[in-house]
């Protein structure tokens, strides 16, 4: 039986959609019945906040997981269950979602990782004993080229690169591809699932010029086979994040099309019992 894969949403710039893609993919898979372990590897803690997990100064977080041995902080103790959410008179069930949260303090993990000399593999090694309890792990790294980003990269079996549909997004994609290239030899198990253009702007049936040009450039950089469907610039995503639900819960399943395609690409890497929960045909 294959070991559940760890997906890392990579991007070396802020605002590229890393946390959004990690969150929406996890919510989609969780809704299908797949247990998802989120790992918030960004000291900004967007994912922790988006999932509604409360972190107190004495709550075990990823900082302790990365900087202390298992004897001192059991990784299991650092895993929080994501609370269910009330949406109007409905309850949105988050039974399958789990999180290793973070807070500002995670920043100091960079020092420890830097001094270890093995930062590329530390998160992977820490997750390894527990990941088989889940269907998939999803890591949300920080936007800067730090040791936390490096350990996130090394934890990944499958990488996805969200990139904003503008010049900054193209630059972020370039820098992220460089990072992968630099470490690929040390990470033979890692595979790029694809690039998700983020915040694409459409007017009627056509993309705006800036969106079209940047998506075309991304395609030239990575090849057509690695280009995934774009995520539209839409307030529905912002509302979904604010209300801690998915666009589908707000009656907009079409906005999750990119997640459905991403899940199809991920399907062969999932353990069979979970792979079969992903619909075989895209609606």
């Amino acid at each position: 039986m294959p070991i559940p894969p760890t997906v890392v949403s990579l991007g070396l710039a802020g605002g590229q959609g890393k946390s959004t893609v990690a969150l929406m993919l996890g919510r989609y898979l969780g809704r299908l019945g797949i247990p998802v372990l989120f790992v918030d590897c960004d000291p900004q803690s967007s994912l922790t906040s988006f999932l509604g997990v409360q972190v107190q100064p004495d709550t075990p977080t990823l900082l302790e997981v990365l900087t202390q041995p298992e004897e001192k902080t059991k990784i299991l103790d650092a895993i929080a269950s994501v609370p269910d959410v009330k949406l109007g008179d409905r309850i949105i069930n988050n039974t399958n979602l789990f999180l290793i949260p973070s807070d500002d303090g995670l920043e100091s993990a960079n020092y420890k990782l830097a001094s270890s000399g093995l930062s590329l593999f530390i998160l992977r090694n820490r997750l390894q004993p527990i990941v088989s309890n889940f269907g998939v792990a999803i890591v949300d790294p920080p936007p800067e080229r730090s040791h936390l980003a490096q350990t996130s990269l090394g934890a990944g079996d499958r990488w996805v690169i969200p990139a904003e549909s503008n010049v900054k997004g193209v630059q972020s994609l370039l820098r992220t591809m460089e990072l992968i290239k630099e470490f690929k030899a040390a990470l033979p198990y890692g595979e790029l699932l694809g690039v998700v253009p983020f915040r694409a702007r459409w007017t009627g049936l056509h993309p705006t010029n800036a969106t079209k040009t940047s998506i075309d450039t991304m395609r030239q950089l990575v090849g057509s086979e690695l280009m995934l469907p774009h995520i539209l610039e839409s307030d529905v995503f912002k509302n979904a994040i604010n209300q801690r639900v998915a666009p589908t819960d707000l009656g907009q399943p079409n906005l999750e099309y990119a997640m459905r395609v991403l899940a199809q690409r991920l399907k062969p890497a999932l353990p069979e019992e979970y792979a079969k929960l992903i619909p075989s045909e895209l609606a």
């Binding site: 247990p35 709550t59 039974t95 789990f98 001094s115 309890n133 889940f134």
Partner: protein
């Protein structure tokens, strides 16, 4: 009950030692200031000045230096620091000031350090010879 159910049904949340903000100045042994609804910008300024003054009284920290240690010793130091909740930096400072007070210990430490330096130089020379020989072998191919 599987692990996921255990996490879902935890009666008591696990805890760790409270984290501190690495950027916030430490205010040890100082009573908590009484901040009330009527506090003004002036009181924030005086609080800031007080903190700056407090920080100025503490030793200045030099820029970071890259330090490479013998692997086994590094591991033992890390374990000791984790156990005692100190850092390698403060441990090194403490070693130095403690030795400074005891001349015989300091002499012994310096003797050991010189022995180690000799061994590192020897290792460096061997590495350099290996590289040179490997490069020579490549050229001869």
């Amino acid at each position: 009950m599987n692990i996921l159910d255990e996490i879902r049904n935890r009666a008591v949340a696990p805890t760790v030692a409270p984290r501190e903000d690495v950027l916030a100045p430490q205010q040890q042994d100082s009573p908590k200031s009484d901040v009330n609804a009527t506090s003004t910008a002036d009181s924030s300024v005086s609080e800031l000045a007080k903190l700056e003054e407090q920080l100025a009284r503490l030793p200045e920290i030099a820029p970071r230096v890259p330090v490479r240690l013998e692997a086994a010793i590094k591991q033992e130091l890390d374990d000791l620091c984790n156990q005692e909740k100190i850092t390698v930096e403060t441990l090194l400072e403490a070693f130095y000031v403690t030795c400074l007070e005891k001349d015989s210990v300091m002499k012994q430490v310096i003797k050991e350090a010189k022995k180690r330096l000799k061994s590192r130089k020897e290792a460096g020379n061997i590495r350099s010879s290996i590289t040179r020989l490997a490069n020579l072998a490549k050229k001869l191919k």
